[in-house]
Symmetry: C3
Subunit: 313 residues, 3 copies
Amino acid sequence: MRNYLSIKDIDNLSEWVEEVKMLKIAPKKFKALGEGKTICLLFFNNSLRTRLSTQKAAINLGMEVMVMNFGSEGWALEYGDGTIMNQGKSEHVKEAAQVVSQFCDIMAIRAFAKLEDKEKDEAEEVLNGFAKYASIPIVNMESSTAHPLQALADAITLAENNSKIRPKVVLSWAPHPKALPHAVANSFVKMMQLQDADFVITHPEGYELNPEITKGCTIEHNQEKALENADFVYVKNWSSYADYGKVLNQDSNWMMTQEKLGKAKFMHCLPVRRNVVVEDAVLDSDQSLVIEQANNRTFSAQIVLKKILESIK
Amino acid sequence: MRNYLSIKDIDNLSEWVEEVKMLKIAPKKFKALGEGKTICLLFFNNSLRTRLSTQKAAINLGMEVMVMNFGSEGWALEYGDGTIMNQGKSEHVKEAAQVVSQFCDIMAIRAFAKLEDKEKDEAEEVLNGFAKYASIPIVNMESSTAHPLQALADAITLAENNSKIRPKVVLSWAPHPKALPHAVANSFVKMMQLQDADFVITHPEGYELNPEITKGCTIEHNQEKALENADFVYVKNWSSYADYGKVLNQDSNWMMTQEKLGKAKFMHCLPVRRNVVVEDAVLDSDQSLVIEQANNRTFSAQIVLKKILESIK
Amino acid sequence: MRNYLSIKDIDNLSEWVEEVKMLKIAPKKFKALGEGKTICLLFFNNSLRTRLSTQKAAINLGMEVMVMNFGSEGWALEYGDGTIMNQGKSEHVKEAAQVVSQFCDIMAIRAFAKLEDKEKDEAEEVLNGFAKYASIPIVNMESSTAHPLQALADAITLAENNSKIRPKVVLSWAPHPKALPHAVANSFVKMMQLQDADFVITHPEGYELNPEITKGCTIEHNQEKALENADFVYVKNWSSYADYGKVLNQDSNWMMTQEKLGKAKFMHCLPVRRNVVVEDAVLDSDQSLVIEQANNRTFSAQIVLKKILESIK
């Protein structure tokens, strides 16, 4: 595998999930694979889980880790072609990507959607800019439109907690005071399309995700109906896609409650706003898988890095 | 030992100080103890000595270190129970503490007093919040009310420089333009209560420390009298405790001078404002132990981490 | 070698460049040299190449690396002698330098010129302050007036790409919207003075570098004439030295173009503003050596650290 930019880079999801089971039993078994190799984690946005889990995964694989907050520690980057750079940007991604490639073996990048301009966000200028000009593999630690390390961790968590041949999995929109990106939801949907499951997306009207991503998915605007007999409920806020980046409503009726959840398992990528997105009772119950999901971030990163290391050996 | 939150977590101070002598001779002797183990240092405030010495101690013990500035790199945390999180906080300490616990074996935390609300500071919401919800040991790298790694380094420094059976040790308040927390003074007082010494605290009226902490200590408002025949003088500013967080005076007569110090050894935790807290002549003299104290920060962290590693092996 | 503060600390440039060739073939050959040793990188300014390449060099030599953004993570430092520190500065460089010396074996420092006060910048208070009070070797990662790791990387790049006994090397000023320091140009000039080359400096009138540094160098204000038959053209902006720190003009006629460059190789330390300092066509051509220069930053740092490690073994 060259890059891990999106869910599409997973060649066989069920095989990866199987391999992770083995990694979790012996996390340091492949320490020799990364020895003498260095990964650079470039953050254009804040991070807790991704920052620590990706470091931990690299350490487990014997790699050296260099972490950099590109925004505050590096130089403002230009992404346009042919720009006369006489304004605020000091360096072009063409140089930055080639330069970072000199100092490490794998580069991981976090660069969120700005939610101001749909076309710009969908162009993924940071991630794709680095991927285009780098001479080393690139890992997506959440870009404008995708968070494939999270979705892979979610797939692992689902597999570990599922006992049915065809579970019912519901992705349910939740209210939130701030405009949030679509990346987590997008990658979760794409990942679910690789699974044998009864998958339903539920959200208020106006909160339709990118229709190209949800093509073929069941969408049900009645949350109660969507949640009937669910085995897993993945809760997540996102801003409007049609009215790009806007918060259309914060209707607290969409908050996940113990009553609505029934016997289903609860999933969320975190960070989560308690009693806005989901009530305390759910998070504090045994039905919540959120800490398992976080723990699986280490192993989703580790399987990805392992695949890449094997290909560049 | 589970956590190192305060001086009370030291089971036998003199034995620890003895053990440190051995660690200083062979700092890397216990490298195998930490192999494959990871420590995460979480900073909610600035740090120089603590940041570098704790890293160094962990490295000496063979551990991997992940450093994170929680304030600028992570998410704003909520600590209250049952809060409807629709304001500025994105994540609850319940999740944050459990999540960080997934990625490392020990967590160290720095979170200063805000000096705005005594009850809030004394509740130690950050340190205690993490300690309550984490599933791994927690080390206090200075909290609202305690700095036990500093006090342990001070105990080591005292032991290394003392030749008397019962030395006279004076903790002397000093002026400072800013309102500073009580953490260093508190932990120094608690540590001195475990020592056989003639211990005197001196400060202007109104600068009494928390009386529960200084219970049984000699307090002398006449600095000159307090300093008579002192062997060690520990100088430190703190803001008022009664009139919580206020700077009542900046009386430069309380600055430590060569003349006042006499033949005593001078101690301070650093950073120190020259010619405000203490005059140049003292810091530049052989009587100053401040650099030794800083050096002993490595070994106070190392003995703490060693004790914890031994208990989680 | 004790410190690496300026080009003058290179005892034999051609020998160092020869030794680098060997390091590039086997970058990890001297891993045992740095084992158990720690380097602390202190940044007072932003950095991409220096941050990553110096870390990488240290890792190649088996060292542990601690990185600290002194400005945002540490305490504001005072440098003056005898100052009454009752203003914004919390710690004196006397303490800071001695303290950091307790926690590592080598200290590397980046502290740019402020371009407000020539005397202050030339006093190099940060770099020299640390060098004066530290008890461990200091490496300059770009100071007010010098960037000797860059100039050493440039010497390596020149050597690798030169086939003539006496190449013509031109240092050409370029326009830039912001006032930039003289450090890179200064060190490049000093490094060229150790080479057998036809070396010419060209810039608009008013942009003369410090005459003590350029003493004996050919200075030609006609860029076209200067560039005639050049083998290597090093392009760099700097602000006025006489009218200290001022941007006197941004004349785009001084931008480097493919036409002006002719058959010469193009060099720049990066970051570079495309189509302001140099046109796209040059950077995107085979004549550009900028990525090789960046790559050689690892090896200039590595040879410097190797020399220091050999001297403190």
